[in-house]
């Protein structure tokens, strides 16, 4: 153990780039695994809700194992499929688009604290960085739609662009509320600001309840998931922006979408549900194994929101486009603005228990 630690420190002093790369791998690789099994979970959970089995054949070494091998098989299949580039498509942009979807979704994790002090880049403007990167993700969709040289793809891209820009405002405002309440842009500080005697009642979800709900719903809209998935809209515009994609290019879009979902779930957990904090007051569970603060709480909270994503998809019919716009501009934005004012007054008046 000592040797490993010594080696790690030596690496940090001499080959800092290598050390950073290892850290990045330590975040990305589990994330990719999570993405793969998120798709499996989606199929299983929705299958269960619709009273069917979901994937249950592909296992390992001849055992079905409830279909656990399915994501691997899918990945292998997609890797070996041909990437068809449509005639008249802009080849460079066509291939760039999927990467632009995945890139920001992964880059955002750089400032994400997994536990106290456990963060790749502990920057002060972390929250801003997150907002900026999630807003950049839309380029993948727009460029894909345009570069495909296809009307359906283009329609999907246009829908997506307008939708994401609209919901970004509500999302940003919701985060302004978090900023006001915590008094910091640093994600670690935001979590620590939620620590208190009230346990889960000290978290921001309670004083910022409207912002919490709006943030998560806007997050669903930002990731183009049901019931806001008009950019794909398979019943109207076939598959929207990625109708022309196949093989690995399509798979990268898929990875990007699910990575974004996990990111939004984790961020919601971090900013409104106290991140790695335990839901029990520290005085109750002091020293009790697994009940104190820890990484596992963050995972658990993230999984709850991940499950909500799937639940939404299984239950809600798709919104009509004008209704999406109405919800974003006429409902969410006004509510967030009003609630920012309320939060500011609460902070000023010291009404809250966290200060």
């Amino acid at each position: 153990m000592e040797t490993i630690l010594n080696f790690w420190n030596w690496l940090g002093e001499n080959f800092i780039l290598a050390q950073i790369l290892i850290k990045i791998m330590a975040i990305t690789l589990p994330l990719m695994g999570l993405v793969a099994y998120f798709t499996y979970a989606e199929r299983k959970i929705i299958g269960h809700m619709q009273v069917r089995m979901g994937p249950n054949r592909v296992g390992f070494f001849g055992y079905p194992l409830w279909g656990l091998g399915q994501p691997i098989a899918d990945a292998v299949k997609l890797m070996f499929k041909e990437i068809v580039i449509p005639t008249g498509a802009n080849k460079f942009l066509f291939l760039l688009a999927p990467m632009l979807t995945l890139g920001p979704a992964l880059a955002a994790w750089a400032v994400f604290p997994f536990d106290e002090g456990l963060v790749l880049a502990d920057i002060n403007a972390g929250l801003l960085y997150i907002i900026a990167l999630t807003s950049v993700g839309v380029y993948g969709v727009i460029i894909a739609g345009w570069a495909s040289n296809s009307k359906y793809a283009f329609l999907g891209a246009m829908r997506s662009a307008a939708q994401i820009v609209s919901y970004e405002i509500a999302m940003g405002f919701a985060l302004v509320g978090v900023l006001v309440a915590s008094g910091s842009l640093n994600l670690g500080d935001i979590v620590m600001a939620q620590q208190g005697e009230g346990g889960l009642f000290s978290w921001f979800w309670l004083p910022l309840l409207p912002l919490f709900v709006i943030y998560f719903i806007s997050g669903v809209a930002e990731t183009n998931r049901a019931p806001f998935d008009v950019a794909e809209g398979e019943s109207e515009i076939v598959a929207g922006f990625h109708v022309e994609y196949s093989g690995m290019a399509f798979a990268v879009f898929f990875l990007g979408e699910y990575a974004n979902m996990i990111l939004i779930s984790a961020l919601t957990a971090l900013m409104f549900l106290g991140g790695w904090l335990s839901p029990f007051p520290a005085s109750w569970v002091d020293g009790v194994w697994l009940l104190g603060d820890g990484f596992h709480w963050l995972v658990l909270k993230t999984l709850i929101f991940g499950f909500l994503y799937l639940w939404f998809r299984a239950t809600f019919p798709r919104y009509r486009y004008d209704q999406i716009m109405r919800l974003g501009w006429k409902v969410f934005i006004p509510i967030t603005i009003v609630w920012i004012l309320v939060v500011a007054l609460m902070v000023l008046g010291d009404v809250l228990w966290w200060a």
């Binding site: 942009l93 002060n124 403007a125 907002i131 900026a132 380029y139 345009w146 820009v165």
Partner: protein, 206 residues
């Protein structure tokens, strides 16, 4: 050359390359995408100048919102390339002349002669926990409060002007939906209509 210097030149090179591409590409969508690249590169330069708030806000506002809408419009428009290019050669000498003049003038004004390190000392490095977001915020709401509020009025006028110039009542052609009415539908009476259908007589098979 220190790593920071290398980064500065790398970002600057990308910035200049992207800026040149913005004005030379034939396809307006490509131009807009290069502009996005230029914004990213200048955000990088800003980061090096320890202005992380400005850098991130540049990405957030310009890349994340303004350019998305811009692309939205550019992609929808069918720009007539030939008409845009007409007179290009004729105007080129004048354009080049003005460009050179401006470039020379910029060099004179912000070049090493006036803003070199021997004229203006390099600013001191900020400590690692310096928060220019907080500093900017407190300046905006105290010293620059009046201009800040005027900027808000400016945005209000922009909204009024945009709506005033484009909004048209379309009469009955569009079916506006009253969401309040939709939501206030009552379960029993409005949504489901129960119709009494008389049951069929049992048919005899012949």
């Amino acid at each position: 050359m220190s790593f920071e210097k290398f980064l500065f030149y790398a970002f600057s090179a990308v910035l200049i390359f992207a800026a040149v591409m913005v004005i030379t590409r034939r396809n307006p969508v490509h131009s807009a995408l290069y502009l996005v690249l230029a914004f990213f590169a200048s955000a990088g330069v800003w980061l090096l100048a320890e202005a992380e708030f400005l850098a991130i806000v540049l990405v957030l506002v310009y890349v994340g919102a303004v350019m998305v809408l811009f692309l939205f419009v550019v992609m929808m428009l069918d720009v007539d390339q030939a008409a845009m290019r007409a007179g290009f050669i004729k105007m080129l000498p004048v354009g080049i002349l003005i460009g050179l003049l401006i470039a020379g003038e910029i060099f004179m004004v912000v070049g090493p002669g006036t803003f070199g390190l021997d004229q203006v000392a390099a600013p001191e490095r900020l400590p690692a926990d310096a928060q220019n977001t907080a500093v900017l915020g407190s300046l905006l709401y105290t010293v620059y409060m009046y201009p800040f509020e005027v900027a808000a009025v400016l945005l209000l006028v922009a909204i009024i002007a945009a709506i005033g110039l484009t909004h048209r009542r379309r009469g009955d052609a569009t079916k506006y939906i009253d969401v309040a009415k939709q939501v206030s539908v009552r379960k029993g009476e409005d949504r489901v209509k129960l119709v009494d259908v008389p049951s069929e007589e049992k048919m005899e098979l012949k």
